[in-house]
């Protein structure tokens, strides 16, 4: 079994890179916005631990903290995205055994991701 020029490796590597740099970019944007218009009470008290729906309603109101939250969420979702990419890459290569394994990991992750979004 040699897997020399496998696409899996390059796709998975790319998704990790894009996801983490986008997330870092959003954080810089959000933290920068916060830095320039910091309302003391807004930035410290109203921030504690929002839920997913809060994040979106705050995002629509253009709150910097919502951008930060979204950046954090994107970072948290990047590993999940790479598992999804791996499922499809294994299928593409007709490596069904590992497509099933990756699918299993995806389902386990969904079990922890989905409840926190509803």
């Amino acid at each position: 079994m040699t897997h020399k020029k496998e696409k899996v490796y390059s796709y998975v590597g790319t998704i990790l890179l894009i996801g983490s740099f986008c997330a870092a970019g959003m954080l810089i944007l959000g933290l920068g916005m916060l830095f320039f218009h910091a309302h003391p009470q807004d930035s410290l008290t109203s921030l504690v631990c929002p839920s997913f729906s809060d994040i979106f309603s705050n995002l629509l109101r253009g709150k910097p903290t919502a951008i930060i939250n979204l950046g954090i969420l994107l970072m948290m979702l990047t590993p999940f995205l790479r598992v999804v990419v791996a499922v499809f890459s294994f299928l593409w290569e007709k490596d069904f055994k590992y497509a099933v394994v990756a699918f299993g990991v995806m389902v386990i992750l969904l079990f922890t991701i989905v409840p926190s979004f509803v």
Partner: protein, 262 residues
């Protein structure tokens, strides 16, 4: 506001030292957030998990592209580490924070011990072509069990758990050390993310604490892995054994409701 700036600076150093020493940032981030900034233990664990994801994604993208890690082995073991991390995250929500401090103190002692007797991965001469499986993996069921435990530690205490995964793969499953290190790094992101969502659903991810620290860690780790890929860190490692032991005492005393030095 200045607190958050210092969190980012602290995170930068944690990421830098972590990547040079081959430690995940977690063992440094949690003592920093709890002891220095007085962040509650569970929020510190949650922030650390987010940081761990950031470092792992940054580093893993390099390892993956260089074919150093074994994606197939990683995926298989992830079945166990993710379940373990979810269980660990749930248990962390039940246990008293003081107990988490004490458990973390034990983890620091174990980390110091591993660091004290650690073999330099570059001296390992065994075959390590991640993609070309010229090695035979042994003890898979036992390896899965141990990976569940590694995930547990990760979800419970907010570290990557590489300190458990690497010995499992290298000593138990006979994976070459370089491949084991790279594969562990690859798995850490998924493991930590499974745990992080448990904390997220409990509302324990503080956006500013996690955001500032993560940004620092991400920059520090990226700098560290590019600037010092081949640094000889022997003396730094020995010095860190003492720092880890000190942090362990401080965390233990904090768990018992008092202070050691500061």
């Amino acid at each position: 506001m200045s607190d958050f700036f210092f969190m980012a600076v602290g995170g930068l150093f944690a990421g830098l030292f972590g990547s040079v020493l081959g430690l995940g940032g977690g063992v440094l981030i949690i003592p920093m957030l709890t002891l220095v900034f007085g962040i509650p233990m569970r929020e510190a664990i949650a922030a650390s998990l987010v940081c761990v994801i950031a470092t792992s994604s940054g580093a893993a993208s390099l390892y993956v592209k260089r074919h150093l890690c074994d994606i197939r082995l990683g995926m298989t073991l992830e079945l166990a580490t993710t379940l373990g991390a979810i269980a660990g995250g749930i248990v962390a929500g039940i246990l008293k924070p003081q107990l988490l401090f004490i458990l973390f103190s034990a983890l620091l002692i174990y980390t110091a011990w591993i660091m004290f007797k650690k073999k330099d991965e570059r001296k390992d001469t065994s075959n390590s072509n991640g993609g070309n499986k010229s090695y035979k993996i042994t003890h898979l069921p036992l390896g899965l069990g141990a990976s569940f435990f590694a995930g547990n530690v990760s979800g419970l205490l907010g570290v990557g758990g590489g300190i458990v995964k690497v010995p499992v793969m290298y000593l138990l499953m006979r994976v070459p050390l370089k491949t084991a290190v790279a594969t562990s790094n690859f798995m850490i992101g998924v493991t930590a993310s499974a745990g992080a969502f448990v904390y997220f659903s409990r509302g324990e991810i503080h956006p500013l604490v996690a955001g500032f620290t993560m940004l620092g860690v991400f920059v520090g780790a990226t700098l560290g892995s590019h600037l010092f890929p081949k640094i000889k860190a022997e003396y730094l490692k020995k010095a860190f054994v003492f720092i880890l032991l000190y942090l362990s005492l401080e965390m233990l005393f904090r768990g018992l409701g008092s202070h050691f030095l500061f």
